[in-house]
């Protein structure tokens, strides 16, 4: 038991995490591509045409995974940030910083695909639906986190300040979602009811799950690549960095 705890802390140092991340990245890329090919195959060639939405519904296969990832990544980012604040491990803060841009990208993709789905289905690029609005606010939260980290020069202070912001954000996200939902039902008269999801066939669900797995693996691979760059940038004056490169 003790042994395993020591093992874990060993990987918490940038020195041992850097090569470990380097070894893991190709595997995550390989599985991202495998899941992606399977997911795309199902989303374009296996999943049947939807009775109500025709072929337009196929946007769901990227829209839903992107939305899921944007939410998961915020939670994971906050988890790493909180861990860094509690245990004062250096890699945790770097992980949080590495995840944020990918999370913001996912939120952006979710908004973009949401708009492209909304136009043919509801006749408008943007409707103030509870989920779309929450996604937009989540995007703003990511931007705030990245802007705060970019504005602080001292990396340790940037990590800690970012951690507090991420944790405040995590506490707030359910409140924001609930309030936006409340606001949306209150103004129901002027908007269209969007809560009715298209009846989902089993194959559609499979396609969505595979695409979500592809997005997961992709996010991990990119975040690990970015965390390696951050490790080198921050540790450039240490002895081990000089020996780690050949």
């Amino acid at each position: 038991m003790r042994q395993s705890i020591i093992q874990w802390f060993r990987f918490a140092s940038p020195q041992s995490f850097y090569p470990l991340a380097g070894r893991m990245i190709p595997w995550f890329w390989a599985s991202a591509i495998a899941f992606g090919i399977a997911g795309l195959w199902i989303s374009f060639f296996v999943a049947p045409t939807d009775a109500q939405q025709g072929e337009g519904y196929r946007i769901i296969f990227v829209h839903v995974p992107a939305s899921w990832m944007s939410m998961f990544l915020y939670l994971i980012m906050a988890f790493w940030a909180g861990l860094g604040l509690a245990l004062n491990t250096r890699v945790s803060g770097m992980m949080a910083q590495a995840i944020a841009p990918t999370g913001a990208l996912m939120a952006l993709l979710s908004l973009w695909t949401g708009a492209l789905w909304g136009k043919p289905m509801w006749g408008a690029w943007w409707v103030w639906d509870a989920r779309l609005t929450s996604e937009l606010i989540l995007f703003f939260l990511y931007l705030g986190f990245m802007a705060l980290q970019a504005a602080i020069d001292d990396p340790r202070r940037a990590d800690k300040a970012g951690a507090i912001l991420a944790l405040v954000g995590v506490v707030n996200i359910p409140i924001i979602y609930f309030s936006v939902k409340w606001w949306n039902t209150l103004h129901q008269g002027s908007t269209i009811n969007l809560t009715k999801a298209p009846s989902m066939a089993q194959t559609m669900l499979w396609g969505m799950l595979l695409m979500a797995l592809c997005f997961w693996m992709y996010s991990i691979a990119v975040a690990l690549t970015r965390v390696r760059a951050i490790i080198l940038e921050r540790e450039r004056h240490t002895e081990w960095v000089k020996h780690a490169l050949e």
């Binding site: 703003f140 705030g144 802007a147 504005a151 300040a161 507090i164 707030n172 409140i175 924001i176």
Partner: protein, 221 residues
């Protein structure tokens, strides 16, 4: 408790010596709300419909104006470090500063709101709900804003960054605050909105000084 009251008193005295800072936020609130009818047109029905939203958004931005100064002066002259080292808990002193900020930047807006509401053709009972909602909501804005002010203390481009960090977190307050007034205008009960605002205020009053203190300690390191 004495240290808490002493901090409130001190901040109030300091602010009253430089009146312009307090007055800026108030004038901003008045001018912004008066600009909307000029931009939209004097149609009373339309103005009445958008009044809660406009008054609330203006209040949001007006409280934001005073936030960068919440800790900045004390940070520059070293008072903040003395506070962190003092025997009374920093959280208590921070809570005192937040209360002082609300008394200076929030309370004047609450008191002015009924007068500005008249511009939008709101009747007496609606003005009452508006004042009550702002009375519950503006302390919430000060509490959440303090976290952002502490995080951006001494940081490049602090003011704009502060707005980017804090405004998304203000959304629930905006929705329930403006929602209370809208519900009342629509003939519904505003009680639900107001009690949710009060609940959020209670949660924020408990957590925000704590988070602000943690952020300040990081900035002081």
């Amino acid at each position: 408790m004495n240290a808490f009251l002493a901090t409130v008193r001190r901040d109030l005295l300091l602010a009253l010596r430089r009146k312009s800072e307090v007055l800026t936020a108030v004038f901003f609130f008045v001018i912004v709300t008066s600009l909307f009818p000029l931009g939209i047109g004097p149609e009373p029905v339309l103005l009445k419909k958008i009044a809660p939203g406009i008054l609330w958004v203006a209040a949001l931005l007006a409280t934001l104006l005073g936030l960068p100064r919440l800790f900045a002066a004390d940070h520059v002259d070293g008072t903040l470090e003395q506070m962190a080292l003092s025997p009374s808990p920093l959280g208590l002193l921070v809570a005192g500063k937040i209360l002082a900020h609300w008394l200076l930047c929030g309370l004047p807006l609450v008191l002015l709101a009924p007068v500005l509401g008249l511009q939008f053709d709101l009747d007496a009972s609606t003005l009452g709900i508006l004042t009550l909602a702002l009375f519950l909501g503006t302390p919430l804005l000060s509490l959440i804003g303090a976290i952002g002010a502490a995080l951006t203390l001494g940081v490049r481009g602090g003011g704009v960054l502060l707005a980017l960090l804090v405004l998304p977190l203000y959304i629930p307050a905006l929705i329930f605050g403006a929602g209370a007034v809208e519900a009342h205008i629509a003939g519904l009960d505003a009680g639900g909105h107001l009690s949710l605002l009060a609940a959020m205020l209670a949660v924020a009053a408990f957590f925000a000084p704590w988070a602000t203190t943690a952020a300040l300690r990081i900035a002081l390191e």
